[in-house]
Structures are given as structure tokens and as C-alpha cells.
């Protein structure tokens, strides 16, 4: 029982880190970023490159990796996505193409083998008789702290209010003198950094190989549909639901069936309530 509680919370934290960034850039810039999974993969590979290949201290390697991914996200938004913003489908195409380029680039540089990203914490902890790897607990804690910090940032800071304003009404925000394009860049960097962090934290206990960015996109999409596109509280709640639902299915039936949960949840939610739990407009 406790096992389900802990492991469910850990996967929820990873999902939440992924989904919050995905929903943030959609809510603010209306960019549905299919390359979001690549940020996650690049984060993990960046940590591997800096920590294992270049032998930097792990904390520094993680910081370098996150910064690099954020820069990559900004580059992608500026150069590839911005000229295409008129058409949502063109944005989907271009970001999907980017995710493929990233996957192929990782494959060509690192090969298709699984890579080991070093863990921050090697110790194992015992909580009420359940053994949990320290890295998982760290992931859970960092997830909670980062999302809490993001929430405070958006609710309290001046830049946060600008982000909120754009997500509510981009035109009105522009009339008020908010530099929307610059805010998009900031949000893209944040979204990419969050996904990279998820990759670095989860890398040690999940598989790190070039195609690893694909499933997170499926999961993030499911979470965002269930929670409501563009709603941050919605995606946190839905991340918890998906994390626990998958863990439960894994325990009750078999781990083989866990992968279906996300797609079934997506399709069911679209039948029952397309706007999602916290979605405002009905399927925009």
C-alpha cells in the first residue's frame, strides 16, 4: 500500500514537471510543442555528456545541461516556430520534425545503447518497511519544490503577472504594453528547463536512449487533455492521477498494461469532457 503511495508520487512528480512546461507554453504562446520530449531527452543526455564524458561534478553538469536545453528551446522558438506561428498545424509539424532531428542527432552521437546517468543520491532509504532509492525521493522532493516555486513565481512576480495576462488575453496584454514576444522566449526557456530537469532527475532510474523523448510527449498530452489544455493546476492534478493510475494498474494487473492508461484516459476524457477538468473554453 505504502509502496503504491510512494512510487505513484514519484512518477507523478516526473509527469508534473513534464506536463507543467508543456501546458505553460501552450497556455501562453499557443504553441503545442511536440519537441517537449526532446528537451527531456536532451536534459538526460546533457547530464551524461557533462558528468560522465567530461567528468564535471554532477551538480555543475546538471546546471550546464539545463542551461543548454533552455538555450536550445529558445533557439527553436525564435528561429523555427515563430515564423510558423500563424498556423497551429505548421507549428506541430515543425516541432515534430525537430523532435526527430534531436532523436537522430542523439542516435548518431551516442549510439542506440542505453546510457547510465549518474544519480545524485546513491543511498537507499527505508520508509515504513519500503525500500526506495534516494534518487526517487530526490526527484519527488525537487518536483514539489520546483512546481511550488513556479506557482509562486507566476502568482507573485511582475513577470509572472505578465505571463498570466498573456494567457488570459494575448491581445489585451499587448495593448497594455506587455512585450509578448519576449515573454514567449522566457516561458519557452522555463518550459525547456523544467523538462530537462525531469530528464536529469529521472534519468538514473529510467532508461536513457535516443528514443526516450517519445513516451513523455504521449504522457504529457494525456495529462494536459485530462487536466485541461493550458491549466497549470489541472495538469498538476492530472499528473497525480496518471502517476497513481499507472502505478495502480501496474500493481493490480501487470506492468505491461500501464502504457495503455494514458491513451485510454485521453480518449475517454475527450468523449466525456473535452475541455478537461479545469479547462475553461470548450475544446477551444
Amino acid at each position: 500500500m505504502l509502496e503504491i503511495l510512494i512510487y505513484g508520487a514519484v512518477s507523478s512528480a516526473v509527469y508534473a514537471l513534464l506536463a507543467v512546461g508543456f501546458t505553460l507554453i501552450f497556455g501562453v504562446a499557443r504553441i503545442l510543442n511536440l519537441a517537449h520530449g526532446s528537451f527531456y531527452a536532451l536534459g538526460a543526455y546533457g547530464a551524461y555528456l557533462f558528468a560522465v564524458v567530461m567528468k564535471l561534478p554532477l551538480a555543475l553538469a546538471a546546471a550546464c545541461s539545463i542551461a543548454l536545453v533552455a538555450v536550445f528551446g529558445v533557439f527553436m522558438e525564435r528561429v523555427l516556430v515563430r515564423p510558423m506561428r500563424k498556423s497551429q498545424l505548421a507549428v506541430l509539424m515543425i516541432t515534430l520534425a525537430v523532435s526527430l532531428v534531436v532523436e537522430q542527432a542523439l542516435f548518431l552521437t551516442f549510439g542506440s545503447e542505453y546510457r547510465n546517468v549518474p544519480a545524485f543520491v546513491d543511498a537507499k532509504f527505508s520508509i515504513g518497511g519500503v525500500d526506495v532509492a534516494g534518487q526517487r525521493l530526490l526527484t519527488l522532493a525537487s518536483g514539489v519544490v520546483l512546481i511550488g516555486a513556479l506557482w509562486l513565481f507566476i502568482q507573485r512576480s511582475r513577470l509572472g503577472s505578465a505571463i498570466l495576462a498573456i494567457s488570459q488575453d494575448p491581445d489585451a496584454a499587448r495593448y497594455m504594453g506587455i512585450p509578448t514576444d519576449r515573454i514567449f522566449t522566457v516561458v519557452m526557456a522555463m518550459s525547456a528547463a523544467l523538462a530537462a530537469t525531469a530528464g536529469i532527475l529521472a534519468g538514473p532510474f529510467l532508461s536513457v536512449q535516443p528514443g526516450m523523448g517519445l513516451l513523455p510527449i504521449v504522457k504529457a498530452f494525456a495529462i494536459v487533455v485530462v487536466g485541461g489544455l493550458g491549466s497549470i493546476p489541472g495538469s498538476i492534478l492530472a499528473a497525480l492521477m496518471l502517476g497513481y493510475a499507472e502505478t495502480l494498474v501496474g500493481y493490480l494487473f501487470s506492468t505491461s498494461w500501464t502504457e495503455i492508461v494514458s491513451v485510454l484516459a485521453t480518449l475517454l476524457m475527450l468523449i466525456v469532457r473535452p475541455a478537461g477538468i479545469f479547462g475553461k473554453r470548450a475544446a477551444f
Binding site: 503545442l32 511536440l34 523555427l80 515564423p83 510558423m84 497551429q88 498545424l89 505548421a90 506541430l92 509539424m93 515543425i94 515534430l96 520534425a97 525537430v98 526527430l100 532531428v101 537522430q104 542527432a105 542516435f107 548518431l108 517519445l214 513516451l215 510527449i217 504521449v218 498530452f221 494525456a222 487533455v225 489544455l229 505491461s256 502504457e259 495503455i260 494514458s262 491513451v263 485521453t266 480518449l267 475517454l268 475527450l270 468523449i271 473535452p274 475544446a283 477551444f284
Partner: protein
């Protein structure tokens, strides 16, 4: 009027070249490459019929190809049914999947359809690996019988299917049905206001598209004599979308040319080996930026305009 005649002449010329090529060179390698290009042509036209006409892009066409191929594999090996059962069975199974994904998502606006197709294809690929005891995992299903023993015979069969399907889909696209599909791309709300059941048309065209793709998947399985989870790969969908973009969206005939052109070019790029997919994805990005209209359909329209002008002037 001249346009129609020039189109027909162009199509006849194309079919003649495709039919004569293997006779002129008569080597098995070339026939193999041409067969694969014709099957890709089938997948590209079917993609274009739904997504090009209605403007709802399908990011998981490999789902239909994959279920078609695996249906063929199961029926032929595990159940031991004769190879020809695969085609109708694959079409039905692919159509069922189209309904399962299309009904929840196509009634909505927004990117739900595109993403749900992508997700379902990714998950199906995962399932093929997870349930390896039934599906053969990474290896897939081996020992599938060929549809037609002679390689050349199968090539002509595939070419005939491609010509028939393309002709039918072009005819539908030029009929009032196709007009409605195009109108949906232009302005869905207006179509709805005009009393059209927009959702029905979108789902019906997806089912047609899926059935063709499923049949193509079954043909592919019977050609390769095996199926692997790679048929579900996102790369597969992207390859097809790239072919359609190269051919010219919503022209139906363009994607056939795009598919054949790209498969032949890929063979020339064979020495690049691992770089092939990288080249594909970069091509796609470049086309999105510099040739949003595609390449083959605009070129054909230009030729047609020139020929038509001369025809008109000589009169």
C-alpha cells in the same frame, strides 16, 4: 477540357514508365525498390485524402499501417489463413481503429486528432514490444507467405492497386464529396452552419484513408514476409508526411510522385546509412519553410498550364 486530357495523358505516361521500368532493366533489386515505392505511394495518397483535403493532419498514419501489417501477420501465420484474406481483414481492422480514434477526437476542433493519432501509434508500438510472447517483440512475426510468388507479378499487382486507388480518390476529391472535404478545411463553422454533418464527413474520410493504409500495410507484410514493430514508428508517419509535402498537399496525385521520388532518392542515399532519417527530417523542415506548396503538384500544374496555353494558341 484540355486540362482533363493533359492530366489523363500525364497519368498514362506515368503508369507506362512505371510498368516498363522493370522490363527494361529487369533486375530484382530495381523491382524491389519500385515495389516499396509503390506501397509508400499507397500510404501517401491515403494520408493526403484525409489530412490534405480536410486539413486535419494525422501524425499517426503508421497506426493504420501497423495494424494492417500485424493483422496480415497474425492471420497468415498464427491462424494459417490463406494470404489473400489479409487484405480485406487488414482494411476492416484499420477502419475499426480509425473509428476508435476518430469518433472521440474528430468532433473537436484543435489539435486533439493529430496528437491522439500520434499517441495511439506510439502506444501500439510499445504494446507490440511488451506483449512479445504473442507478437514476437522486436523480431516481429516471421514466415509470412507472399501474396504472389513472382516478384514482378507482385509489383504489377501493387502498381495496379495504386493506380486504382489513386484514380478513385482523385475522382472522389473532384466530386461534391471532395468539395465538402475541402470546404471543411476552409471554414468548418460555415460548413456546419450550412447544415453539413462535418463530423461524419471527417470520420468517413478517415475510415477510407485508414482502410487503404491498412491494405498497404498488409501488402507490405506479405512483401517483406515479416512484420516488426517498426511499422508503427513515428518515423514511418513522418516519412509519409514528408512525401506528401514534397508531392504537394491536397492534390492526391502529387503524394504518389512524392513517395516514388523519395524512395528512389533514399536508395541513392543508401551510402549515408544512419544519416538517412536525419536527412529526411531536415528535408521536411526545409520544405515547410521554403516550399509550403510542395514540389511535384506545382511543377505539374506549371507543365499543364504551358501545354494548355500552347494547345489553346494553336487553335
Amino acid at each position: 477540357m484540355f486540362d482533363r486530357r493533359i492530366d489523363l495523358a500525364g497519368a498514362a505516361l506515368f503508369v507506362a514508365v512505371m510498368a516498363l521500368l522493370p522490363l527494361m532493366f529487369s533486375n530484382n533489386y530495381l523491382i524491389g525498390v519500385l515495389t516499396v515505392s509503390v506501397i509508400y505511394g499507397l500510404w501517401s495518397v491515403s494520408w493526403d485524402f484525409m489530412s490534405g483535403l480536410t486539413g486535419r493532419e494525422n501524425f499517426g498514419h503508421s497506426l493504420f499501417i501497423g495494424v494492417g501489417a500485424y493483422t496480415a501477420g497474425f492471420l497468415n501465420t498464427a491462424w494459417g489463413l490463406p494470404a489473400w484474406w489479409s487484405l480485406p481483414a487488414a482494411m476492416i481492422v484499420a477502419a475499426v481503429f480509425a473509428l476508435a480514434v476518430g469518433i472521440p477526437t474528430l468532433r473537436l476542433k484543435g489539435p486533439y486528432f493529430a496528437l491522439a493519432m500520434l499517441s495511439t501509434a506510439v502506444i501500439m508500438q510499445r504494446l507490440m514490444l511488451i506483449f512479445w510472447e504473442q507478437t514476437g517483440g522486436e523480431e516481429g512475426i516471421n514466415g509470412i507467405e507472399p501474396l504472389i510468388r513472382s516478384q514482378l507479378g507482385f509489383y504489377y499487382f501493387a502498381l495496379a492497386v495504386l493506380v486504382a486507388v489513386t484514380a478513385t480518390l482523385v475522382a472522389i476529391a473532384r466530386s461534391p464529396w471532395g468539395l465538402i472535404l475541402r470546404a471543411i478545411r476552409g471554414d468548418e463553422a460555415t460548413c456546419q452552419a450550412a447544415g453539413l454533418n462535418v463530423t461524419f464527413y471527417k470520420i468517413a474520410s478517415l475510415v477510407i484513408s485508414a482502410a487503404v493504409a491498412g491494405a498497404g500495410g498488409a501488402m507490405y507484410a506479405h512483401y517483406q514476409l515479416q512484420v516488426s514493430p517498426q511499422v508503427f514508428a513515428v518515423v514511418m508517419s513522418i516519412t509519409i508526411i514528408t512525401m506528401v509535402y514534397v508531392g504537394g498537399m491536397a492534390s492526391i496525385y502529387g503524394p504518389v510522385g512524392g513517395a516514388i521520388l523519395l524512395v528512389l532518392l533514399t536508395e541513392l542515399l543508401r551510402s549515408f546509412g544512419e544519416w538517412r532519417l536525419m536527412i529526411y527530417s531536415c528535408t521536411l523542415i526545409l520544405i515547410l519553410f521554403f516550399l509550403p506548396e510542395g514540389f511535384i503538384a506545382p511543377v505539374w500544374r506549371w507543365i499543364r498550364a504551358r501545354l494548355g496555353a500552347r494547345d489553346g494558341a494553336s487553335r
